[in-house]
Point group: C2
Chain length 197, copies 2
DNA sequence: TCAATTGGCATACGAGGCGTATGCGAATAG
DNA sequence: CTATTCGCATACGCCTCGTATGCCAATTGA
């Protein structure tokens, strides 16, 4: 069984995704010319249509890749927390910090939703939400979080607030100070979820 | 001083905004052909470029109009509340309810941010946020809300969570049930802002 | 090893949307 | 009553997208 063929194909896909990711992350989806960024990968639109169907399909692939990376990073950081509640809070703040990166902000929080619609319905791009939902469910079981809220709903609300927080920080003249304010406000909102003794 | 001239100009602007608002709100900004929706208003792109500079300028005008309407509606509903805290909560839930309308959701929460960037930096389109910020500040003065959060930051976070909540409800198979869950979760988060006795 | 075939990717073509330059005609000003 | 402004339409070229088509290399089967 020969492999060069399969490898070339995988490489072509990877090159397209990388080129598109860079273009989408910098100039944005709408401004990114398919001719331009395929050429920057040494390819043409022919390859793109063959592998991904259309521009939206390629965006989906880019989003799936980024989502996977984000989930990895979130768990990596948050898993060091001593308690599960702290783990959950760290997960949220890490999420905000990642959303500060221009590429993630642009693709995952601006162009993605505009082009593909509600992120909750993206296929293979909800690893972070799934993780948060899982922790919330467990925290409810442990009696730490109030029982009468739906975990995934909360996770989605947090997701929306995070993206706003990140945008606010990123566009601020004093990102350091704004970041402190945003994370403080964020943690305060999260306190509302805790069961009072 | 004759008026017909001025009136015709105002009417042209209004017709363009109305046509664009309808097109943007239904098929979306990117899919809306300027030739098509100007024609539906009995005009051409010439008028559009003359009055608004380009497609983005027209979107800004549409957004300013919608924002004004939203602020009016929010205050109308919420001003009936007995306490200021209740007023604030009603403001938030009304905001979510408005975000359920497809036109508002599409233009204000999806295409708007994608095309024009961070809503916090839109000119003349932050009436709702300003109102929420004002109430939060007052509530802090009254000792109802914890003092160590920045009002506008909180208002923005709430704005982000609202738009997510609205999307979730709108795309749900059982909007009624989802709406209940979303608003419940939302109120729970808001509880985090209250000062504990 | 060699023909047959698959399929990955490039090229070519047509359609449509955008921005700019230009032109016309009516309302206003002096 | 003439001159001028300016609101808006028309005309042109560029760019981008999607599809149809073609080519060549890699695989398969005998």
């Amino acid at each position: 069984m020969h492999r060069p063929r399969r490898e070339m194909i995988a490489e072509t896909r990877a090159k397209l995704i990388a080129a598109a990711r860079h273009a989408f992350g910098t100039i944005g989806y709408a401004e990114a010319s398919m001719d331009d960024f395929t050429a920057s990968a040494g390819l043409t639109r022919g390859a793109l249509y063959h592998h991904f169907g259309d521009k939206k399909g390629l965006l989906q692939a880019v989003i799936a890749e980024i989502d996977g990376e984000m989930a990895l990073r979130v768990n990596e950081v948050a898993s060091k927390a001593p308690t599960r509640w702290q783990h959950f809070v760290d997960e949220c703040t890490t999420y905000i910090e990642m959303a500060l990166e221009p590429e993630i902000q642009r693709i995952m929080f601006r162009d993605g939703p505009a082009v593909l619609g509600d992120p909750a319905q993206w296929p293979n791009a909800n690893a972070c939400i799934a993780s948060m939902t899982g922790h919330l469910t467990a925290l409810q079981g442990e009696g730490v979080v109030v029982a009468d809220v739906d975990p995934e709903t909360v996770a989605r609300l947090i997701n929306g607030a995070s993206s706003q927080a990140a945008q606010r920080i990123a566009n601020s003249k004093d990102p350091e100070a704004t970041s402190k304010k945003a994370i403080a406000a964020f943690k305060q909102l999260l306190e509302g979820l805790r069961k009072k003794p």
